[in-house]
C-alpha cells in the first residue's frame, strides 16, 4: 500500500516537473520569438523613418507619422541626422520637422518628468530651430 502510494507520488511529481519544464521551455521560446519579432519590427521602423527623413532632407513633402511612439523614434533619428549634417539638406530637414509640429512636441517633452525626455526635447528644439529656440529652451528648463 505504502509502496503504491510512493510510486504514485513519484509519478505525479515527475509529471508535474516535466510539465513545468515543458511550459518553461515553451515560454522561453515564445519570449525569444517575440524579442526577435520586436527587433525586426524596430529595425523596419527605423529604416522607414530614416527613409522619410532623408526624403524630407531632399525636399519631399511626405506627412510625418502621427502616433506618439513613432514621433519619438523619428525625432531621435532626426536629432542624429541634424547633428551630423549642415547645409541646404539639413535646412530642408529642419523645415520639414517644424512644419510637422515637432517643435511643439519638443516643447512638450521638455516639460516631461523624465530627464531623458527633457533632454530629447531640448536637443531637438535647438537643432531644428537653432538660436531662436534658446530663450524658449531656457524658459521651459527654468
Amino acid at each position: 500500500m505504502f509502496a503504491a502510494r510512493l510510486n504514485e507520488f513519484v509519478v505525479i511529481t515527475v509529471l508535474v516537473c516535466a510539465l513545468v519544464f515543458v511550459l518553461a521551455v515553451i515560454l522561453m521560446l515564445v519570449a525569444v520569438a517575440y524579442s526577435r519579432w520586436q527587433s525586426r519590427k524596430d529595425a523596419a521602423n527605423r529604416e522607414r523613418y530614416l527613409d522619410l527623413l532623408l526624403s524630407a532632407s531632399e525636399g519631399a513633402l511626405d506627412q510625418p507619422p502621427s502616433r506618439r511612439k513613432s514621433r519619438l523614434e523619428l525625432s531621435d533619428l532626426a536629432v542624429h541626422l541634424l547633428s551630423n549634417t549642415i547645409g541646404e539638406e539639413r535646412e530642408q530637414l529642419a523645415g520639414w520637422l517644424l512644419r510637422g509640429g515637432f517643435d511643439s512636441d519638443a516643447e512638450r517633452w521638455m516639460s516631461s518628468g523624465s530627464p531623458a525626455q527633457r533632454l530629447r526635447g531640448a536637443v531637438l528644439l535647438l537643432l531644428a530651430t537653432g538660436e531662436p529656440a534658446v530663450p524658449t529652451a531656457l524658459t521651459i528648463a527654468a
Binding site: 530614416l50 532623408l54 531632399e58 533619428l77 542624429h80 541626422l81 547633428s83 551630423n84 549634417t85 549642415i86 547645409g87 541646404e88 539638406e89 539639413r90
Partner: protein, 124 residues
C-alpha cells in the same frame, strides 16, 4: 562615374552617405567596420573610398595604412570623414595616406565636391 566604397560604422550615416552618393550617380558599396571594409575593397576595388576614423575592429587610420601597403589597393583615392577636427588629426590622416579630409557635421554638397575633386585627380 567612379565606384565608391563607404566604410562607416554608424548605420544611419552610412545609409545617408550611400544615398547621397547614389543620387549623384556613383556606384556605391558599403561596409560597417574596417575589417569588412578592407575585405569589400579587395573584392570590389573602388576608385574612391570614404572612410570614417573611429570604427570597431580596425580604425580608419589603420585601414588607410593597410590600403596604402596593398599593391592592388594603394592607388585608391581616400576621403577621410570624421568628427575629429583638430589640426593634429588632419595631419595624422594625411600622413597615414588620406587624400582629403572632411569633418562631421558635413554638407552633402561638400561631400560631392570632394569626391569630384578626387575623381579629377584620378583622371589626371
Amino acid at each position: 562615374m567612379a565606384r565608391i566604397a563607404v566604410i562607416e560604422d554608424d548605420a544611419d550615416l552610412n545609409r545617408l552617405l550611400c544615398r547621397r552618393l547614389t543620387r549623384a550617380d556613383y556606384e556605391v558599396h558599403s561596409a560597417s567596420d574596417g575589417v569588412a571594409g578592407l575585405a569589400m575593397m579587395k573584392e570590389h576595388p573602388p576608385e574612391i573610398a570614404v572612410i570614417d576614423w573611429m570604427m570597431p575592429k580596425m580604425s580608419g587610420i589603420e585601414l588607410i595604412q593597410r590600403v596604402r601597403q596593398d599593391p592592388e589597393l594603394k592607388s585608391i583615392k581616400i576621403l577621410m570623414l570624421t568628427a575629429r577636427s583638430q589640426e593634429g588629426d588632419r595631419i595624422r590622416a594625411f600622413t597615414s595616406g588620406a587624400d582629403d579630409y572632411l569633418v562631421k557635421p558635413f554638407a552633402a554638397s561638400d561631400l560631392i565636391a570632394s569626391i569630384e575633386a578626387l575623381e579629377r585627380q584620378i583622371d589626371r
